[in-house]
Symmetry: C2
Subunit: 139 residues, 2 copies
């Protein structure tokens, strides 16, 4: 867990795509992000610029440096934390905040393969083991 109860800004759909570039690459200039997204999207560079500026305004990005006339940005929020905040928000909206109904719905809709089920079970087995013997203190 990167930070307990971090406050993360609202990040829209298109903005998520941009944030992921930063989380993948670390500090990046607008040009870097435009280049990175060139292959994955058909966005106009101006669009990417706008999204970066909005993310900066929202406080999801901060200026890490200025290279000549170019800004280098860096995320102020951890990917983990944003994912978790988005998950909580989604679960709250659709499943009354509860994880089990979410997974039950997925399973009912036959949207989970045998392999995935096994993967999830292993994940939960490990989690259960961790709950058994609590995390040790690194002191």
């Amino acid at each position: 867990m990167s930070n307990p109860n971090p406050t993360v800004p609202q990040i829209s759909d298109a903005e998520w795509t941009v944030m992921r570039v930063f989380w993948d690459r670390g500090d990046s200039s607008t040009g870097d992000v435009i280049d990175a997204l060139q292959s994955r999207t058909d966005w106009n560079p101006k669009t990417v610029q706008t999204l970066i500026r909005r993310l900066h305004k929202k406080g999801a990005l901060e200026v890490a440096a200025k290279n000549g006339r170019e800004f280098v940005y860096r995320p102020t929020v951890a990917e983990n934390d944003c994912e978790h905040a988005a998950s909580q928000s989604f679960l709250g909206r659709v499943f009354d905040g509860k994880l089990t109904p979410f997974l039950a719905n997925f399973v009912e809709n036959e949207a989970v393969s045998k392999e995935e089920i096994d993967e999830l079970r292993r994940l939960l087995d490990r989690a259960a083991a961790d709950h058994q013997e609590p995390e040790e203190q690194a002191s």
Copy 2:
């Protein structure tokens, strides 16, 4: 599974609240919904009317009857299907469509209790069993 690959309209946050009333109560008039939401929200009746009209326009509700000058509406989409569509959309946006990373993030963030873990494991055990011996045909 109510319907394979149903097409469900985009349902916004506030609209979810309204749809849930219909899913809970079945066919309902605007007045019914307003009454039902009176306790749970502080929405103005006009707001509820607007949301119902938007849902009707989107095709999420259809007119089931007309009582005097009052319409009775009914959902055209199953709660299950809407939940699943919302889940797919969320997972696609935040976790590249993958369930395992979603759950892993949740567990990492210590947002899952021991009891919940056990519940989820039971759920997955049943799902695994179903995968073992496929569903029988009701003929």
